[in-house]
């Protein structure tokens, strides 16, 4: 596991990271969520050693991270960049060699990756000749070419068309499945919700919440319930241990002090008529995010 431990960083008077602590589990995809300026990019740069923290440590399996381990990480910076005038294959091989691969091994791996990402036919093209979406794919290949021991991706899906998002997702999932820890940041909360196993929510340089979606929900939001019946549901307002949040004829949404209080409402409803639907409301990540960062 990679652990970010009590990291602080200031730029001049701006304290951009305050005691940031979280873990990235191997084999899992950890989503890194936060608004603009929350400190995601700075955290990632510190992870990679491109920036040094003012205090705090990065640890791998309990020991301080080494330069060798860092060199094994696949990194995709927020601001994209490859050599515009160099062919896609050539720069992947160059990056592979900078990561201590032999030229031949780098070439084999680069060609396989480009094929996998649907860029096989453009391997010989110069980067600037590719469409923006294809440049993004090349960027992902650049992060993966050295068969990384961990992945740190800053907004990997921005600028990708839905088709490319799917391909990229598959490739990242396959990589995670080999036991590699994956950290990626994104503004697209629906996408993060669909993909990630773990979440780290950052706001104003502080970690506001970490854990799986279910854990976050349990920790940060009281469960809400929904009941839909064939008849009017106005009576729910008078039920014990229940607070109605919204009400519209046969549809009611309420908060209950306990599961049993909610089940009593259900039992009552069944006695009163046909129940179309009953159950806990699935809160979206967006709601959790808004609540946690408020």
């Amino acid at each position: 596991m990679i652990a970010v431990n009590g990291v602080n960083k200031s730029f001049g008077a701006a304290h951009v990271l305050q005691d940031v602590t979280f873990g990235i589990q191997p084999g899992l995809m950890t989503g890194f969520v936060g608004g603009n300026g929350a400190g995601k990019t700075t955290t990632m740069r510190i992870l990679l050693g491109v920036l040094t923290p003012d205090s705090g440590r990065i640890e791998v399996d309990g020991a301080p991270i080494t330069a060798d381990y860092r060199a094994g990480i696949g990194y995709m910076p927020e601001e994209r960049g490859l050599y515009p005038k160099m062919s896609v294959l050539d720069q992947l091989v160059h990056l592979g060699r900078l990561h201590d691969m032999s030229g031949a091994a780098a070439k084999t791996r680069a060609l396989a990756l480009l094929d996998r990402l649907g860029l096989g036919e453009r391997a010989g093209s110069r980067l600037e000749e590719l469409s923006l979406g294809n440049q993004q794919r090349a960027q992902i290949a650049a992060a993966l070419v050295h068969d990384p021991v961990a992945l740190v991706l800053d907004e990997p899906f921005s600028g990708l068309d839905p088709h490319a998002v799917d391909t990229t997702l598959q490739v990242l999932r396959e990589t995670a499945d080999t036991g590699v820890p994956v950290l990626f940041s994104s503004h697209q909360l629906d996408l993060v919700e669909r993909l990630c196993d773990e979440l780290v929510i950052l706001a104003d340089g502080r970690v506001r919440a970490t854990g799986s979606r279910a854990e976050l929900l349990a920790a940060h939001a009281e469960p809400e319930w929904e009941l839909v019946t064939a008849t009017d549901t106005g009576w729910v307002r008078d039920a014990r241990g229940v607070e109605v949040l919204s009400f519209d004829g046969g549809h009611v949404r309420f908060r209950a002090v306990s599961d049993s209080a909610a089940h009593e409402v259900l039992a009552d409803a069944v006695g009163r008529g046909t129940v179309h639907r009953f159950g806990p409301v699935t809160r979206t990540l967006h709601e959790i995010f808004t609540e946690v960062t408020r």
Binding site: R45, V60, D68, G81, M86, L98, D100
Partner: protein, 379 residues
Amino acid sequence: MSTVTAASANTTAGRQPRRTPFWSAVGTVAAREMTVKATSRPFIITTLILLAAALAATLLVPRLGDLFAGDAVRVAVVDQTAASVQGLGEDYAPQTLGSEDAAREAVRSGEADAAVVPDPGSPSGTSVLAMTDAPTDLVQALSTSPTVELLDPNAPNPLLRYLIAFGFGIVFFLAAVTFGQQIAVSVIEEKQSRIVEILLAAVPARAMMAGKVLGNAAMAILQVGLVAVGLLLGMQINGDVLPLDGLGVPILWFVVLFSIGFVMIAALYAAAASMVSRQEDIGSTSMPVMLMIMLPYFGVIFFNSNPEALRVMSWIPFSAPVAVPLRIFLQQGAWWEHIGSLAVLVVSTALAIWLAAVIYERSILRTGKALKWREALRG
């Protein structure tokens, strides 16, 4: 969760990634710089033009006179003067005419370029007739000159000294400025395209800078070396016209000093470029480097006849690559002075590399407004 952590401890520690060794990273970066340069059309064309210029300067220019020489000068003579013109060789074709008037008429009609006629009033006993311009060559050929004895035939010819100072100066200056600018462009390109962040995640900033400086220096030395070979070759072929004596050693010194001095300038250019984020801003930080190259360069060209000025300039690292070979050619200074200049240059180059590496590391990830040298040094 605990099972995941247990399994994970295996996976994260199981694979042992390794950072590329420093010099191997330097080599990879340098190799890329050299490939980019060697396949760039401007570089190939410039090299060919310089090589052609070197060969032309040594092979063709000394023979330029022959090209303009044209046909033999037709000289109208009379019986009394025929002998003197006949003795002048193949460049003059005498036509013997019956009288002085006939000779005069031949010049007037253009049949002859000049005429030589007897003239009792002239000290030489002859007069030369021509239409508009005095035929200087012919007059000279007919005159008798006193014998000249050169007491120091090997002393450097002032024109040659100027040409050599100028030649070394221009090669150093042009190579330093053009390659320096290209290093700057390539540093900013990486900074602007942000690939530098990926590169820095893999290799240390120093390795990046060292690779860039060494790769470009190798190509510059290759280019200058080719020009030097072209010059030496041309002089060898043209040995009778252009004496190679005494130039071979200064040229070798120049190549050595140039190689070291170039690395120093390249490192400073890389540092200057790392301080700006956009190509347009490069002037603001590279101007001091440019001045440091320009002043000694003009100094050597203007003061090449002043041994004291040359001595001072040979101890200044920026002008040493031009001043030292020139002093050696002029046989000024003792051998230990030249070795001393070389040592000063080596030490200042090492210092410049260290300084540039510090600045480069501090500035390469800063974007936005161009940094000032003082800010970059203060960190």
